[in-house]
Amino acid sequence: MPAVLTPSALPAERATGDGGFAALPPDEPGGWQRPSGGNRIVQRYKLGVWIGMGGILMFFAALTSAMIVRQGLSNDWQPFSLPPVLYVSTLVLLLSSVTIERAKQALEEDSGDGLRKWVNVSAVLGAAFVAFQLLGWQSLAGRGIYLASNPASSFYYVLTAGHGLHLLGGIAVMAYIWVRLRTNSPWPTRSAVVEATALYWHFLDALWIYILGLLLIWR
């Protein structure tokens, strides 16, 4: 037997045994590992959100470090009191985390109506949060504190806007869920999308608490 077989011998080689290529059994998903321990597609979507959090966190970590450095560098930093409406918006956002959990619960109970209702409520609460944040901007502007007034206000606007944009992304996905649920067509990734959205939403909630703390402490 030659030490090196010619490449043309390859297909025959594989014909013996399975050669590593099992024909696809009818219940095998094909190309992927067999689903094990819960719904794989849900796990994959959630893993995606977890990884995505890493990137978003680095964005806000960079802003945080820039803020701390910028404050320490010069004497033009002018602290200001946060608009009280922020506490209302915080409560609204926390509440929306509760309602998105209710949506997940409805999903588990396979209640389409419940799911639709709680996703909608969460989206409305998210929109309300954004509205309250805008009121916060308005109240600052009323006090003559604008984006370029001084570095403290610059970072306030940048951080709240950055968080708000991420939140609008979440609301857009909720709107998508609402549309998909309305059309009633088969939707194999439904659980995955809803669970991933809920995870993302909780993350934005925690991120907001962090930003609020930063704005309070590092004034």
Binding site: P2, P7, G30, L57, M58, A66, N75, P151
Partner: protein, 607 residues
């Protein structure tokens, strides 16, 4: 065929990830969700970008050897930047900035990861596509928009930005400081969009590797290409968010009047700038926190391909596979804590510089491990000198040559002298520019038969290799001497410094420019070979012409739409089983079980 009722879970799972083969032109070639098409789209983008980048570098070289020469065509194209065909110093700076930006972002970041990674990662791990195919499509098209934004900077009033690919403020932050209009804004917008595209792509790569590996394919059985794509994706995920944040702040400094990076009391052209208290150094920190990992984003996939190709054509397993994996991980980790070595002359505390210097030296350890292991892989092997093998050996050579000058530059005392000289230009071009490009040449010639079902012309590839290999050393070798003079970089022309204007330096510049012209010409040979290969190359019916081991070589060329044609690959062994004792042939594919490798009897007797 018997109908079998599948569980809802599996039905759901299958439904989601078996996207049907597209029929229409748009869904098949333009807005495709197939990772193979997207990989080729990334590669095409990089090819266009690399020729733009090369043209820009030639303009830079021509301006350096003859500041007063006139090029009428250029005068027609850029009446402001090159009046009557004579390039202004501002035009020189703009070409230099765009060369760096196009090459770093649109070539070195897109092709190795977005191109080859997209095409071969799912196949090498036995998956039918990336984890999120639609997100993958979005990543590419976002990158494309970013490229268009960058190109638009050429044609707006005031022309392309002139602040270098690092965009240091206050030059980049104060529109009054340069004649340019919105070129710099377009540049920043392009970078910001590119960051978003890269973040989405990084997320997709990481989930794909963690979640979609075939049965039996443990992390320590992954081909080293996959490992480098994995670490590159992690670097991208953690680095691009920081650049995005910095870019947003700089855009606001330019356009809304904030003062993140612009210092107070700045006077530009006798005019007091209305900013206060910002720090240009803050930009440098944020930029280089991204910038250094970016270097590894460019080079790591090249390392992966090199390891892969060296092992395949030396017919030997990778020497120290685990050490190679740990070295890649170590390089990735260390890459995040050495950014300060780009800022030794920024006035940082000598103690900080000392720490950054020590950490930088530490990178020498995993880099040396990789180099020794590459040599160890080839040592005593039955080497087949194919073109991908030559490019990979070229990679090792360039990596070492560029790496050694890095040890000089990593020491603050020496860097004070070398900073912003041609020594630095030589260093980074060799190690992250040309070495990474050689990694791409290796990848392209190696995977070409798999991607297109045809062979490239080996003879032409080899001629191209030697021309390019000698060419790049002829370009960047003499730059070390220029740097030692020391000849500063980024100067359109030197006036009033006799020893730089007369004598050796000018001749070296001339030599480098001629070498650059010839090397660029040689690239058309590769382009010709590539295009000819696609349409008229020798047809390669053999799925495994190189007798390689990884999964992509077990399927037909080009691969079918769902990669494995409805079958499930199982992996039984590591990625580099060559020259096995007692085996029926000198390599074992990852999907071959012992029975297939050693035969029925040997497997039964447990030999």
């Amino acid at each position: 065929m018997t109908e079998v009722e599948v569980s809802p879970e599996v039905a759901e799972y299958t439904e989601v990830h078996r996207h049907p083969e597209p029929k229409g032109f748009w869904s098949k070639y333009i807005f495709s969700v197939d990772h193979k098409v997207i990989g080729i789209q990334y590669l095409l983008l990089a090819v266009v970008a690399v020729f733009v980048g090369m043209a820009l570098s030639l303009l830079v070289r021509l301006r350096l050897i003859c500041p007063e020469c006139s090029y009428p065509t250029l005068g027609t194209l850029f009446p402001v930047g090159a009046p009557e065909g004579v390039m202004t110093p501002e035009f020189y700076l703009a070409m230099l900035t765009m060369h760096g930006t196009v090459m770093v972002f649109m070539v070195l970041t897109t092709a190795p990861q977005g191109g080859f990674g997209n095409y071969f990662l799912p196949i090498q791990i036995g998956a039918a596509d990336m984890a999120f195919p639609r997100l993958n499509m979005l990543s590419f098209w976002t990158t494309f928009v970013s490229f268009l934004l960058l190109m638009a900077a050429f044609v707006v009033e005031g022309g392309a930005p002139q602040t270098g690919w690092t965009g240091y403020p206050p030059l980049s932050a104060v529109p009054e400081a340069t004649v340019q209009g919105i070129g710099q804004d377009l540049w920043l917008a392009s970078i910001a969009v590119f960051c978003i595209a890269s973040l989405l792509a990084a997320l997709n790569f990481i989930v794909t590797i963690l979640d979609l590996r075939a049965k039996g394919l443990t992390m320590m059985r992954l081909p080293l290409t996959c490992w480098t794509w994995f670490i590159t994706a992690i670097l991208g995920l953690l680095a691009f968010g920081v650049l995005l944040a910095a870019g947003v702040l700089l855009l606001m400094d330019r356009n809304v009047g904030t003062s993140f990076f612009v210092p107070g009391g700045l006077v530009v052209s006798d005019k007091q700038i209305d900013h206060s208290g910002g720090s240009p150094i803050l930009w440098q920190h944020l930029f280089w926190f991204f910038g250094h990992p970016e270097v590894y984003i460019a080079i790591l996939p090249g390392m992966g391909v090199t390891s892969h190709v060296l092992s395949t054509f030396a017919r030997k397993t990778v020497f120290g596979y685990r050490a190679m994996v740990y070295a890649v991980v170590a390089i990735g980790l260390l890459g995040f804590v050495v950014w300060g070595h780009h800022m030794f002359v920024s006035g940082m505390s000598p103690y900080s510089a000392f720490v950054f210097s020590i950490l930088t030296m530490c990178i020498g350890v995993p880099s040396a491990i990789k180099t020794f292991n590459w040599i160890g892989t080839m040592w005593g092997g039955k080497i087949r000198f194919t073109s991908p093998m030559l490019y990979s050996i070229g990679f090792v050579s360039l990596f070492v040559s560029g790496g050694i000058s890095g040890i000089f530059l990593g020491q603050p005392t020496i860097d004070l002298y070398f900073h912003d000289t041609y020594f630095v230009v030589a260093h980074f071009h060799l190690i992250m520019g040309v070495a990474a490009i050689f990694g791409m040449f290796a990848g392209l010639t190696f995977w070409f038969p798999k991607m297109f079902g045809r062979m490239m012309d080996e003879r032409l590839s080899k001629i191209h290799f030697w021309l390019t290999f000698i060419g790049v050393y002829a370009i960047f070798g003499p730059m070390h001497y220029l740097g030692m003079l020391p000849h500063p970089r980024r100067y359109a022309e030197i006036t009033g410094v006799d020893f730089l204007v007369e004598g050796g330096a000018a001749q070296l510049h001339l030599f480098i420019t001629v070498a650059a012209l010839l090397t660029v010409l040689a690239q058309f040979l590769f382009l010709y070979n590539f295009v000819k290969g696609i349409y008229a190359g020798k047809v390669c019916t053999d799925p495994n012409p190189w007798e390689a081991t990884t999964l992509e070589w077990a399927i037909s060329s080009p691969p079918p739409h769902d990669n494995f044609g409805g079958k499930v690959p199982h992996v039984y062994r590591g990625a580099y089983d060559f020259s096995l004792r007692g085996a029926k042939r000198d390599f074992a594919m990852q999907c071959n079980d012992d029975k297939a490798v050693y035969g029925e009897q040997s497997a039964a007797s447990g030999d």
